[in-house]
């Protein structure tokens, strides 16, 4: 078992430089640059269709940028598959959760810890002691994460039998079990009550001791309270970047939200901004 690689690199954990992605003739992202500092939470916001999901898909390897570069702790990442990026410590949650329905909660989380396993096919085939020792270690790691998120009582249950907020925690536990250097959270607050959301905010702030976090989220209260830095996307371009207070008062951001689509969130943003 290898401990997660901690580099001595002092700069950003993750950097995107001049990334552009187009599907057919549509520019989903143009010249997007951002950096996630160690022990920081970076929020990515923007109206629907602004390119937030594409940005995440580039960060985790599902979409290869047409131009531009990605760096992890100063090292260039070129054309890596998502599973390779996961092995390098970039972990992600999915909007649709993507839990393994026919596996228990504990097994789901153990899959997340898989990058810390080294037992190969043959040690599993022959049931070598190394294999069972490693299984016990993975189980311990997964149980620790379940304890941390207070869902240890569901370890033996199947995800489909659990309420949605608990399932969201299981998905988060699976992403945390890999002990990533960079955690990508895709709308972690959707479907949560306001109490659950403030609990989530505390949880995310508690994670920054161990990792950097990148967050796509619609709930502005959460974004403003947990993020150290916010990047605002509109039509695939970065229109603003800065701390929560700067973003709140940025006229370009207000225009993007109010000019396109007025929903509850952007109305609230406008109120807090003015």
């Amino acid at each position: 078992m290898t401990p997660p690689a901690r580099s001595n690199h002092a700069g950003p954990v993750f950097e995107m430089s001049d990334v552009a992605v187009s599907f057919g003739g549509i520019h989903a992202l143009s010249d997007v640059s951002l950096a996630v500092a160690p022990n920081h939470v970076l929020g990515v916001i923007g109206p629907n269709g602004a390119g937030k999901t594409t940005l995440f898909n580039v960060a985790c390897g599902f979409v290869q940028p047409n131009t531009g570069t990605l760096h992890r702790s100063g090292a260039l990442l070129t054309r890596l598959q998502p599973h390779q990026l996961a092995g390098l410590g970039i972990s992600r949650t999915l909007q649709g959760l993507g839990l393994f329905d026919r596996m228990t909660v504990l097994e789901n989380v153990m899959v997340g810890a898989d990058r810390h396993a080294g037992a190969g096919f043959f040690s599993g085939l022959l049931g070598l002691p190394q294999s069972s020792k490693e299984e016990a270690a993975l189980r311990g790691r997964a149980t620790a994460v379940l304890n941390e998120l207070h869902i240890e009582q569901y370890a033996a249950r199947f995800p489909a039998s659990l309420p949605y907020p608990i399932r969201k925690r299981v998905a988060l536990a699976r992403a945390l079990a890999s002990e990533p250097e960079l955690l990508l959270l895709d709308e972690p607050a959707s479907g949560l009550s306001s109490d659950e959301m403030s609990e989530l905010g505390e949880l995310i702030r508690g994670l920054v001791d161990r990792m950097a976090v990148m967050l796509v989220e619609h709930h502005m209260d959460l974004v403003m309270s947990v993020c150290d830095h916010i990047v605002v996307l509109d039509f695939g371009r970065v229109i603003a970047s800065g701390g929560p207070n700067e973003i709140r008062e940025n006229p370009a951001v207000l225009a993007a939200y109010l000019g396109n689509e007025v929903d509850d969130e952007s109305a609230r943003l406008a109120r807090t901004g003015s």
């Binding site: 839990l99 153990m110 096919f121 294999s131 039998s161």
Partner: protein, 368 residues
């Protein structure tokens, strides 16, 4: 006191999957010896048939049940194993010991399985079914076409294997019975099955098994969790093909012939129905499925004769009964016989747990 010590003994014996599986294998071995020593040559032949079908169904249930890939072409992998054995044994019957021949046949099938698995890993659902279906149709055709090598429609015949002296001595020592050639083959088949099932059981309880199930349930989520989805799919395919190759090798020694007519599409489909009957992903279920495949037709035919039907009518009753069984299982116990019992057990432990549906196709992926 004695209660405590027996509990800790039980805990020690069952602590790791390997120990559990070996314990199961030893119990299985005792049952196999007891059964094979108490039945006649005809039944021994039937048990040998059940053994090779069980090996093939066990491999297929790992592919379909644990990894969610559907193969309609496992009969073709059996053919590869069978023809490899036949080619070796046909020319030089005594050159190599049978276990070595069986291993070589598995290796040949592993190579073919890796090639097909690489193709299948890039396909989804019905397309894998189509590709493997083509394989099931093509492979017997290849054997017919290259008649000089593979004996054409007549096939390659295989001589009755001689029983090694040490084996006859060992069985005589244990049971005070002599070993006929048919009993030797039944033993060989069941030893092969027990070893295969222990290894498959180890795999399914290991990191590899969890990886396969994760890929089956949600390939996208598995990929972002760091699993190389393509490699996991190919590995499952190769393991499954290796089992089919071993099954083919045993089969050719039992029926003493490798011919295209032995590896029709019906064989591939029968293997799949046995998987569904037993319960996807369950090795015990695979054994039940293989037993049904082997014994149900003859039992039904015998039943037909005993109620006064003609030979022809009785023979026609068997496929009818088999089809009926399949329909009833799918309607009443869609998770298969073992799967249904397991679901009921899980529900008893956590009452609000839903039935775990066992689908042939992996569900739609949850990419947003």
């Amino acid at each position: 006191m004695s209660r405590i010590s027996s509990d800790s003994l039980k805990a020690r014996l069952l602590r790791t999957p390997l120990r559990r599986n070996i314990l199961g294998a030893l119990i299985g071995l005792v049952i196999v010896i007891a059964v094979l020593e108490s039945v006649g040559p005809f039944r021994q032949g039937q048990f040998a048939t059940m053994a090779y079908l069980g090996i093939a169904v066990g491999g297929l249930t790992v592919l379909t049940g644990l990894n969610g890939q559907l193969s309609l072409g496992h009969g073709a992998f059996m053919a590869v194993g069978a023809y490899t054995t036949a080619l070796i044994v046909h020319d030089a019957p005594k050159l190599l010991p049978l276990p070595v021949v069986m291993l070589l046949s598995m290796l040949a099938t592993v190579v073919v399985g890796a090639v097909v698995g690489l193709a299948a890993a890039r396909l989804h659902g019905p397309y894998i079914a189509g590709a493997t279906l083509a394989l099931a149709v093509a492979v017997p055709g290849i054997a017919s076409f290259f008649g000089d090598t593979f004996g054409g429609e007549q096939g390659l015949s295989v001589a009755q294997p001689t029983v090694p002296a040490w084996f006859a001595d060992a069985v005589y020592f244990l049971t005070a019975h002599d070993v006929s050639s048919s009993k030797y083959l039944a033993y060989l088949g069941w030893f092969g099955l027990i070893v295969t099932f222990v290894l498959l059981g180890n795999l399914s309880a290991s990191r590899m098994g969890r990886t396969w199930r994760a890929v089956r349930d949600d390939a996208v989520a598995a990929e972002i969790a760091g699993i190389n989805v393509g490699r996991a799919r190919v590995t499952a395919f190769v393991v499954s093909a290796a089992c089919a190759g071993l099954a083919g090798s045993v089969m050719v020694m039992v029926v003493r012939l490798a011919a295209p007519s032995g590896f029709t599409l019906t064989l591939s489909l029968s293997l799949l129905t046995a998987v569904v009957l037993g319960g996807l992903g369950s090795l015990v279920g695979a054994l039940i499925g293989a037993a049904l495949l082997t014994f149900l037709p003859q039992t039904i035919t015998g039943l037909g004769l005993s109620v006064g039907l003609s030979d022809l009518q009785s023979a026609q009753l068997a496929p009818f009964a088999y089809g009926l069984t399949l329909v009833l299982v799918i309607l009443l116990a869609p998770a298969g016989l073992v799967g249904t019992i397991r679901d009921a057990w899980h529900r008893r432990r956590s009452p609000d747990a839903p039935a775990i549906h066992h689908e042939l196709h992996p569900k739609q992926e949850t990419m947003q």
